[in-house]
């Protein structure tokens, strides 16, 4: 009993190595695995480590709610053993390209977990999620004895199938190396990408290829390090794009046997070759929109358009920019500059309905264009904020009052308030005095051209000053129109009384 004999209670699986002192061929071994709570028994043959052909397998697997399939691989040698491994199901082949067994290591591969993980292999393939049947093929790639089997276990039925069919005696022999980027070329300046080197092996006795990842065991070089460099320390094979252009990424791997033959029951290599490969990769420039807002105001007033800025940054610098908008609700002061001023020509009908695109070309190589969705806003109405502030002046040289009204500025579409920070946008007023009481009073109107303050508000001065006490029946009626950046935004009726002005809003209201 292995459990009690070797203290293996905690081990779900293991390999058994038996030595005997009798003459060769005098012992036949068999091992049976018996599940204690059920009547499940799995019988397995024992192999002679000296059998050179112990090194490959091709076995079926099956998965259903009652059935599990496990592949076991055991390195019977004293050196690490690389394994080429492929799983076939539903017409699709899935590769494990980095399977290596340490000396005397036994590895179990749960095929259900392998299927359900849905991780892609180096060819971007997965085992079909619904696959229930297939086959496992494995091939040792080093001349180290490896033993393997697949066990399909149906627990409730008490049935187990154990397969250890072999297919080829000698290790796989090297054919070629493929070097490929992790994502794809061309790659953008400043970006990194893991490049992989994969060697293809075929069974010496013929058959389909197996693959093994040689990235970590290769020496990497770039034919032009001003275009990209390649890491030879962890992470090995990492490509770093540094400049626009094209270069070759080369990986030189270890020497591998490319021709095995059997002699005296032992696999021998008749030819070794240097492994390696290369791939061309071009590096293209990049461009990003790095400054500006996701809106622009419709106005031709320079104090407004100064805020309609968008800035792109190409890498490397010194290339050519080209801006465009779709639909063409804005024009550009200089569409070939990195920093551009937009002039809104027609307002948006919905938020973010206009796409800005900037193309960038460096040394004839185009970058992937950068885009930004914006809204072309148009100033629409003013809304008074708080009540009118009045400071009375009671002489001796000035009588009347300083009066101020605060307005918030709103824009369409959606009636959005213009946020803080849009200082200095020209605000013009047209004031007409309609009537003055008492008669004989003369009024001089001083109209000031103002601007939005730092909170993007309009702080409207409505002061009335005289050099004498105001008559108690004073009433001045006036009409006032206001415009911001040349866009009409409000009409008021102003009524000036001795105690202060009143403001009646005549729209627009939205």
């Amino acid at each position: 009993m292995l459990n009690s004999a070797f203290g293996l209670l905690s081990q779900p699986f293991c390999s058994i190595r038996v030595q005997y002192s009798g003459p060769p061929g005098s012992v036949i071994g068999e091992i049976s695995s018996i599940e204690q709570k059920n009547d499940l028994v799995i019988d397995s043959r024992m192999r002679n480590e000296g059998d050179g052909w112990a090194g490959s397998g091709a076995n079926p697997w099956h998965l259903d709610p009652d059935t599990e399939s496990y592949a076991f691989l055991a390195n019977m040698g004293d050196k690490p053993a690389r394994i080429g491994y492929r799983v076939w199901a539903d017409g699709q082949t899935y590769f494990l390209d980095s399977l290596e067994l340490l000396p005397h290591e036994t590895r179990m591969i749960d095929l259900r977990k392998l299927r359900d993980a849905q991780e892609t292999d180096f060819m971007k393939h997965t085992i079909h999620a619904g696959a229930t049947d297939g086959s496992v093929l494995w091939l040792r790639l080093d001349n180290v004895p490896v033993m393997g089997r697949v066990a399909a276990i149906t627990r409730h039925g008490g049935v187990a199938s154990s397969y250890d069919c072999c297919m080829c005696a000698c290790p796989g022999q090297y054919e070629y190396t493929t070097v490929a980027p992790g994502t794809s070329c061309p790659i953008s300046v400043g970006v990194g990408d893991q490049v992989n080197s994969t060697a293809a092996f075929i069974p010496a006795c013929g058959g389909s290829q197996y693959y093994y990842n040689m990235t970590g065991s290769s020496s990497w070089s770039s034919t032009n390090t001003s275009v990209f460099t390649l890491n030879n320390t962890a992470p090995i094979g990492l490509l770093k794009a540094v400049g626009v252009g094209s270069a070759l990424a080369s990986a030189q791997g270890p020497t591998e046997c490319n021709a095995w033959y059997m002699m005296g029951g032992v696999c021998q290599c008749s030819s070794n070759t240097q492994t390696g490969g290369s791939t061309s990769c071009s590096v293209k420039p990049t461009v990003q929109i790095v400054g500006g807002n996701n809106f622009a105001f419709e106005s031709t007033d320079a104090t407004v358009t100064q805020y309609n800025l968008e800035q792109a940054q190409g890498n490397p610098g010194g290339g050519q920019y080209s801006w465009s908008a779709s639909p063409s609700r804005v024009s550009f002061n200089n569409p070939s500059a990195s920093l551009v001023t937009l002039t809104g020509t027609s307002p948006s009908t919905a938020l973010l309905d206009t796409t800005l695109t900037v193309n960038y070309t460096y040394n004839g190589q185009p970058a992937t264009p950068a885009t930004r969705a914006i809204t072309v806003r148009i100033f629409k109405f003013l809304q008074q904020s708080g009540s009118t502030q009045v400071i009375l002046l009671n002489g001796p040289s000035q009588y009347g009052y300083d009066a101020y009204a605060y307005y918030n500025l709103f824009s369409n579409p959606s009636g959005q308030q213009v946020p803080s920070g849009f200082y200095g946008m020209t605000t013009l007023e047209l004031v007409t005095i309609n009537s003055v009481t008492p008669s004989g009073t003369t009024v001089t109107l001083h109209q000031g051209n103002g601007a939005t303050n730092a909170n993007s508000q309009i702080l409207d001065d409505l002061s009335l000053i005289s050099n004498a006490t105001l008559p108690s029946n004073l009433h001045i009626n006036a009409s006032q129109d206001l415009a911001v950046g040349g866009i009409y935004v409000r009409s008021n009726t102003l009524d000036y009384y001795p105690s202060g002005p009143t403001i009646t809003n005549n729209g627009p209201y939205q």
Binding site: T441, T452, L470, L494
Partner: protein, 258 residues
């Protein structure tokens, strides 16, 4: 609000006067260090609008203008703009004023530049040369002062009122406009010209900028008006700041609270 102080006029203005087309630049002054970031183009652009566009296109700092300008039929001189990104501020001004000969540019301080007709400073009828014995304002918005200086300078008010037609009844002045921008400032000046007052207000707004932005000034008048042309003078605050001006104002905690 800043505490007021009495400042002699001679200390207010440390100037270097340069006739155009050559714009003298002091070593390290904004004229040399500031660059235009945007292409400025346009035909027959009114002069003050051109200066506003220029100020708005600068990056790395800002410039304020105090400009005295002669109009003809209420129209400013116009210029053709063709300024490329990267142009130094001094070169850009030279390009602009090459098209309007007869003006001078004077660097008043790090941020303030005066522009005026070459003959203006020697003209006794120029209201900006009028001497004011005392000027006192407490916690007033710079924009209001620069828009209607006569409200705060009685001598100027009298000079302007003298040219107005007056009826038999009480006279009332209505001041209307969105001019109440810029920081609140406090100033007490003695024996200064109107021009010096306007410059002092702009510099005080610059020194106290934080939440509120500093403001420049403009005074225009008809070129063909008779001597004592006060009635035709128009005052206006002038905003010429780039969108990133806040990054370049004097960063004191007091300013940032304003």
């Amino acid at each position: 609000m800043v505490s007021g102080k009495i400042v002699p006029a001679c200390m207010l203005l440390l100037t270097c006067v340069s006739p155009l087309p050559r714009v003298k630049a002091e070593q390290g002054h904004a004229f040399e260090t500031l660059r235009v970031a945007l292409r400025l183009s346009g035909d027959r652009v009114p002069l003050t609008l051109a200066l506003q566009q220029l100020g708005g296109a600068i990056r790395g700092g800002y410039v304020l203008f105090g400009i005295e300008i002669q109009t003809v039929d209420r129209k400013e001189p116009t210029v053709n703009l063709g300024i490329e990104p990267g142009t130094a501020l001094g070169d850009a001004l030279r390009q602009i004023f090459n098209e309007v000969p007869g003006y001078r540019v004077e660097v008043i301080s790090d941020h303030l530049v005066n522009i005026y007709p070459a003959t203006a400073k020697g003209d006794p009828n120029d209201l900006l040369n009028m001497l004011v014995p005392r000027f006192d304002v407490v916690s007033q918005r710079a924009g209001v002062i620069l828009s209607w200086p006569e409200r705060f300078i009685p001598e100027l008010y009298q000079r302007l009122a003298a040219s107005k037609t007056s009826g038999s009844g009480q006279h009332i002045d209505l001041y209307v406009g969105a001019v109440a921008i810029g920081p609140e400032i406090t100033l007490h000046l003695r024996n200064v010209t109107v021009r010096q007052i306007l410059n002092a207000v702009t510099e005080a707004s610059d020194a106290n900028a934080g939440v509120e932005a500093p403001v420049g000034w403009e005074c225009s008048y008809e070129a063909r008006a008779a001597a004592g042309r006060g009635a035709l003078n128009t005052w206006r605050l002038l905003t010429t700041l780039p969108p990133d001006w806040k990054e370049h104002v004097q960063k004191t905690e007091e300013n940032l609270r304003r």
